[in-house]
């Protein structure tokens, strides 16, 4: 059986849905094909034991880009940003520290840190803002720039020089290539504060706070902060992915879940459609892939259909997942020693010092999992009681620095990881184990097999300098184009990268609508 579309989008993750919806709203007949049974990708909610609902892999995120929210009428389709979250750096011994938007508080925080914190936050938001022309637009090409690209580049220069002012620009140029530890050590004294901030910058990457270039990685994450403060994501009411799905369907996108794309069909260097695991073929004038570029090019197109060096560059993309996910269904509200109940609903980060983060990272470099894991914890049911049965709760834990392993992952291994994570948790939340009704642990390998993200990497490739901007995902495929005619890419592997921004999807749709570009 064969169906014809103007555009087939592979993968109904949030970027795929954003791209498909923009294209459908521009009058294209669009199908969005998803291997999983639900749209939303890693941002789609998950259920445990039928009664406990979790936000999926992304539990805390910045609000969606304001343009996309407006263009796709997401509010009209039920979207509302989740509750805003402060960050609590957990330290049961020295006392917990609360990192707010512009203030930091906690026992023993030196006054100089309290003074430095708001200025630091403001400076870095400004730096991220100065990069807006770069992050918000397609990356400029290295050759044959169009006039719009030149204008964007000029805007970038202008906003760095005049938006920031001379002093700030020098400061930006000084810190942008640096690492988080050096920068945090310069400004702050308190280890708990620095630990949580350092962990934030590198979560999701195979990097520690001392890894060169991590300031840029953090700025890429902070770009989302321009849309507002970090929120609890994926709550049932006003869920982002549900609103996206409704918006897509209202625009006429045909979302086909449970259909795995086996091949991107090419003819003479041109994409003509996709073939599905069901044996079905969808013909399309344009194919857009939201998958990890490694999956798109090496699995779906196939290296033999590409130029040799391009295929090799794709193979060399650095992006090995480092985050595991622990979901706990709890029979009651967990208590954290020394933490006021009113703070429990925030984002709790277990990263008591930069050293502890770096050491946890060190273990993962050698395929090991640290005895002292770095954790990011939310308890969404505190904000929305119907996520769990009455009186019960759901706890969602990002477990940093779980090494990606191709083999040897069985239930016993998962249990070991979960046990070690729970030990770390229970130190701060005594009695937590006794509340557990059900649990699951997803390793990066599980994320790969369940969500298709290659090596379980959230961002479809590290957010590092050499894989950013016009080098993302690789030279020869920036700007959402690919060497295969009529094949485009729209996922986190594209500029500006991962996070729930929707911008790769939006930019890719714009690129598709521009049509054939004269070279």
């Amino acid at each position: 059986m064969t169906d014809r579309f103007d555009v087939v989008v592979i993968g109904a993750g949030h970027n795929g849905l954003v791209c498909a919806t923009y294209l459908a709203r521009a009058g294209r007949k669009v199908a969005c094909v998803e291997a999983r049974e639900v749209p939303g990708g890693m941002a789609a909610p998950r259920t445990l034991a039928d009664r406990y609902r979790f936000p999926g892999l992304a539990h805390a995120a910045f609000p969606v880009n304001a343009d996309i929210r407006r263009d796709l009428k997401l509010d009209q389709f039920g979207y509302s940003p989740g509750p805003e979250l402060d960050t609590v750096s957990l330290d049961g011994d020295r006392g917990h520290v609360v990192l707010g938007a512009d203030s930091v508080s906690g026992e023993g925080i030196p006054d100089e840190d309290k003074l430095a914190y708001p200025r630091f936050q403001r400076d870095f938001r400004e730096f991220a803002g100065a990069l807006r022309p770069l992050f918000g637009n397609p990356p400029p090409r290295l050759k044959d720039m169009s006039s719009r690209e030149k204008a964007n580049l000029a805007k970038l220069g202008w906003s760095l020089r005049f938006g920031l002012g001379r002093e700030s620009m020098y400061e930006f140029l000084r810190v942008a290539g640096s690492n988080m530890q050096d920068i945090l050590d310069e400004v702050f004294v308190d280890e708990r504060l620095k630990g949580a901030m350092g962990a934030d910058a590198v979560l999701g990457s195979a990097m520690g706070p001392r890894t060169p270039g991590t300031v840029l990685t953090w700025l890429q994450r902070l770009y989302g902060a321009l849309n507002g403060r970090m929120t609890l994501h994926g709550h049932a009411q006003g869920s982002f992915t549900e609103a996206l799905k409704r918006s897509a369907e209202a625009a006429g996108v045909s979302i086909r879940c449970g259909s795995r794309v086996e091949r991107i069909v090419t003819d003479d260097g041109r994409a003509t459609g996709v073939s599905l695991s069901t044996g079905e073929t969808l013909e399309a004038r344009i194919v857009v892939s939201n998958l990890d570029p490694r999956a798109t090019f090496l699995d779906l197109v196939g290296a033999p259909n590409l130029d040799a060096m391009f295929a090799n560059r794709v193979r060399q993309i650095r992006g090995s997942g480092t985050v595991g996910k622990l979901h706990l269904a709890l029979a009651g509200e967990p208590r954290l020693t020394g933490l006021d109940r009113s703070l429990l609903g925030n984002r709790l980060v277990l990263a008591p010092s930069l050293k502890s983060v770096e050491q946890a990272f060190n273990h993962s470099k050698y395929g090991e999992f640290s005895e002292n894991p770095v954790l990011e914890i939310t308890i969404p049911s505190l904000h929305e009681s119907d996520l769990a049965p009455p009186g019960h709760h759901v706890m969602s834990v990002n477990v940093a620095y779980v090494p990606y392993r191709e083999t040897g992952e069985d239930d016993q291994y998962r249990n070991e990881l979960a046990e070690r994570t729970l030990s770390g948790l229970e130190y701060h939340a005594p009695g937590l184990r006794s509340l557990i009704v059900d649990q699951e642990f997803l390793t990066p390998r599980d994320v790969e097999s369940e969500y298709g993200a290659v090596q379980g990497h959230w961002h479809h490739g590290e957010l590092s300098m050499h894989q950013s901007f016009m080098m993302r995902p690789v030279y020869g495929s920036a700007q959402y184009e690919t060497p295969i005619e009529n094949l485009f890419i729209c996922g986190a592997g594209c500029h500006p990268g991962g996070g729930l921004t929707g911008i790769p999807g939006k930019n890719a749709a714009r690129r598709v609508l521009e049509g054939v570009r004269k070279t």
Partner: protein, 398 residues
């Protein structure tokens, strides 16, 4: 290959033929070719040259890079590697091929031998293992470097067939150009292909290194009946220019080693457009070449006859005497058979056309004094020298 401890003390390796080559060499002018010691000149350049053109020359070809390519996707792999349509390549045949990088710029050229189903050998001037490995992603293919495991001789010249037959190598009279056959010499297994780099009748012989000296001795055993001579790189350079054969890395930059923008060359720019078949389906560089094909040719590696009798070295080429500089001579030789200076020159094209009145500014020396003079050039299509006996089958018997 096993790397011996202290290998670095040997600046240049010896080929399996070295004892015989060294014994023949009186000039001791050695050159480094892919890490092997080979003679630039053996004893007398003129005699070496004329052995190729009117007798039988023997050259040690062992340093040529050789790769064995096998596996169930070997055919698909080589087809994706090279620009040429390989549909006529079959076991027992050899094909001259060119391969490009993603940008459609020439990496190298060489000869592709097919021995059996999914069994190929690629011979190239430059090291290609990294590029072959890069190209192998997604193919079930094995690539083995066999440069050091196969000894090779080029036996070239009008009498070469007779020499080999007389030496006891049977069954080569019926070999057509670009045929390859397995044969025997006494107890040695031998592969013979009718290929070469001289533009003359000639064969290349491929043998186990252990049998190298026996092969050499059999060939030189007929020296009483034929003029058989060892030749070096200098004689080869003369005859290959006469034949209009290019040398990547010398006449133009090989693509993956080029740093400066625009310093690499597409197949059309070096006169290899005939070996590019854009309609054959996927191959590396095809996308870029399809774009380039639509544009007028920007430059061309032209064959020039340079008037006058001054020896031609590197020189600028101008449009008209005293005119604008439009190119440069990359290699040149005095051709004894043609009695002319012949050269390959990289020329700029204007709207796809080569300069109408190329003149070379030839610089030469008189008793340590440098002088220069203008020499008019004539652009020639096809090889400068292309004798009929080169492709005759069977070759004339001597």
């Amino acid at each position: 290959m096993i790397i011996e401890p202290g290998h670095f003390r040997t600046a240049m390796q010896h080929t399996p033929f070295h004892p015989r080559v060294a014994a023949a060499t009186t000039t001791e002018e050695w050159a480094n070719w892919n890490g092997y010691m080979v003679p630039r000149e053996v004893d007398n350049l003129s005699a070496e040259y004329f052995a190729v053109r009117s007798g039988c020359s023997v050259m040690d070809l062992t340093p040529m890079e050789k790769y064995r390519i096998s596996g169930s996707d070997a055919r698909a792999f080589v087809d994706r590697l090279v620009t040429r349509d390989l549909s006529k390549l079959e076991p027992g045949r050899v094909c001259y091929v060119v391969w490009c990088n993603d940008e459609g710029k020439v990496i190298d050229d060489g000869t592709l031998f097919q021995f059996g189903e999914n069994d190929y050998r690629l011979c190239a001037q430059h090291h290609q293992l990294d590029w072959l490995e890069i190209s192998s992603l997604g193919f079930d293919v094995e690539i083995e470097l066999e440069t050091h495991d196969v000894a090779a001789l080029a036996v070239q010249g009008p009498t070469s067939c007779s020499v080999l037959a007389c030496a006891g190598i049977g069954g080569i009279e019926t070999l057509k150009p670009f045929d390859v056959v397995d044969t025997w010499l006494g107890g040695c297994r031998l592969t013979v292909s009718r290929t070469g780099y001289t533009g003359d009748l000639g064969y290349e012989l491929w043998v186990n290194p252990d049998d190298a000296l026996a092969l050499w001795d059999a060939i030189f055993g007929v020296r009483d009946k034929f003029n058989v001579r060892v030749i070096g790189l200098s004689a080869l350079e003369m005859v290959r220019i006469e034949a209009g054969l290019i040398m990547p890395g010398f006449d133009f930059n090989t693509a993956e080693d080029t740093i400066r923008n625009g310093f690499d060359r597409s197949p059309w720019e070096v006169g290899l457009g005939w070996a590019v078949h854009l309609d054959k389906g996927r191959f590396t560089g095809r996308r870029a070449l399809m774009v380039e094909k639509k544009r007028p040719l920007g430059r061309y590696l032209a064959k020039l006859v340079v008037e006058g009798n001054k020896p031609v070295g590197p020189a600028f080429v101008h449009e008209g005497k005293n005119g604008r500089q439009v190119g440069e001579i990359k290699c040149a030789t005095w051709s004894p058979v043609l009695k002319a200076n012949v050269a390959l020159a990289d020329l700029e094209c204007h709207k796809g056309r080569m300069p109408a009145h190329p003149w070379a500014r030839v610089e030469y020396e008189r008793e340590l004094k440098w002088m220069s003079e203008w020499a008019q050039c004539r652009i020639v299509k096809g090889p400068f020298y292309n004798p009929e006996h080169r492709n005759a089958t069977p070759p004339t018997s001597f």
